[in-house]
Amino acid sequence: MPGHGAAYFGKLAFGLVVMFAILAGLQAAPRRSRKIIIAFFTFLGGLYFALEFFYPAPSGENFLTGYQPLVAGLGAVIGSFAIGLGVFSLVQLHLRTLSRLRPGWGYSIVLLVSFVAMTVFGLMNEYSPNATVIPTVGGLWQSQNAHGMFRFLFSGGLSNLGSATFSIIAFYIASAAYRAFRLRSIEATLLMAAALIVMVGSVSFGTALTAGIHPKLTDGSENPWANLRIENIAQWLLMEVNTPAQRGILFGLTLGLLATSLRYWLSLERGAYFDKEL
């Protein structure tokens, strides 16, 4: 390692040994104590922020506040190691399809090639963007550098494909509006009325419908009839009907969130994931 001698390697090795020893110790603990160990560390994680909040901080900061960047940094690095989980699962799945020549193996090749290409050119784009990756071939095509390849893959491919994938839902929404929106009950009617008013009130063809009602009277004062302009009706509904309804939901949600957080923190949560044999 540049600038560091053997002693530095020693420190690194020491760090690794210590951590692996701790993990080995945890692994060696009796099976029945594993749930307690997990609960302990979960509690410890939560305790930091809970204490940091509750502990008096006359100057705005207490003895724990200063460690927040360290916690954020550690979290970012350790959390980043999890990226391999997704990569490993998907690559493994497609390598298996490929090795057994299962139907659709051609698509697996495409996926793996795209994956490798993006990883390689993405890294090159960061560290050596001007490196030539495709030489000029006669009059067919001009040479291409790593940045150009990355742009091709990201701006041409990834970005447009992502947008397209999520835009498909527009078709299904149109079809659903036609098929599912039936005035069968008061609830359905209210739902549709609100949807229509909000829609019409937010686009120009809607506002054009009531544009004849002027916001001001001839004497320059406010025109009370302007409240009946479609965008104002929509606005009123959102502010005076939707807002309190959403606040009611918010009350319920937040109390639920606090309760759930407490259950996670104190390892009281039950369910398939939490009750699994360890």
């Binding site: 600038g3 760090g15 993990l23 945890l26 997990i38 491919g157 447009n160 549709m192 309804a245």
Partner: protein, 228 residues
């Protein structure tokens, strides 16, 4: 080759246009063209996530700190990070739960502050002066003072009434016999439907905007048939 043809064949635009058409073709029929680009998309997304995690987090915050800045203790993050991978083995699967647990705990620990800073203003603002049922004194010279005062009271009455109805609907979600509670809950239900309708109307805007964006890309950016 004409300028226009050169533009149409620009690799970045062509890739994007073909990909967009392929993905959208799914709505008419599932086909190979779609499947091809779907797999390209997945591969690219995965590669990009990996590359970005290295270049923006692991390299500057972990690798460089450890290798160049002499912060050797960062090496200790490696075994902890490896604990995630315990999930692939039966023996070490519980270790991945341990590290996930720490993240759960960290997020849960912030719930108290969140409750006090984000949620409490919601409660207090529901009873703030501008939500009062007594109107403020009229503004001098306001020709519609009475109208403003009446609408102030009516709007606030409606606002508080709706909050109560919705809360009753949620709090008494189990079976009820009391008629007043039932009626109030029913009103709450209707108001909620109204609110969900507003969300549905807005959903249509989002979805259509995304599709219009794609069409704009095809007809403006790529085919240049539409003016900007």
């Amino acid at each position: 080759m004409t300028e226009y043809l050169k533009h149409l064949l620009d690799p970045v635009l062509l890739f994007g246009a073909l990909g967009t058409i392929a993905i959208l073709s799914l709505v008419f029929k599932e086909n190979r063209f779609y499947r091809l680009f779907e797999h390209i998309f997945l591969g690219l997304a995965l590669g990009y996530d990996l590359e970005l995690t290295w270049t923006t987090v692991l390299k500057p915050q972990f690798w460089d700190a450890m290798v160049h800045d002499g912060q050797w203790a960062w090496i200790m993050a490696v075994p902890v990070g490896l604990m995630f991978y315990g999930v692939y083995t039966q023996r070490f699967a519980w270790m991945s739960r341990l590290v996930f647990g720490i993240f759960f705990g960290l997020a849960a620990g912030t719930a108290f502050q969140d409750f006090s800073a984000r949620f409490m203003p919601q409660v207090t603002r529901s009873f703030a002066p501008n939500k009062s049922l007594i109107p403020p004194p009229p503004t001098p010279g306001d020709p519609h003072a009475l109208l403003h005062q009446v609408s102030f009271v009516l709007n606030n009455f409606l606002f508080l009434g709706i909050v109560v109805c919705v809360l009753v609907y949620f709090l008494f979600a189990f079976e009820q016999k009391n008629r007043a509670v039932l009626r109030t809950a029913q009103l709450g239900r209707w108001v909620l439907m109204f609110s969900f309708g507003a969300i549905f109307g807005s959903t249509i805007m989002t979805r259509m905007a995304l599709l219009i964006d794609r069409m704009y890309f095809i007809f403006h950016d790529w085919l240049r048939l539409v003016k900007g």
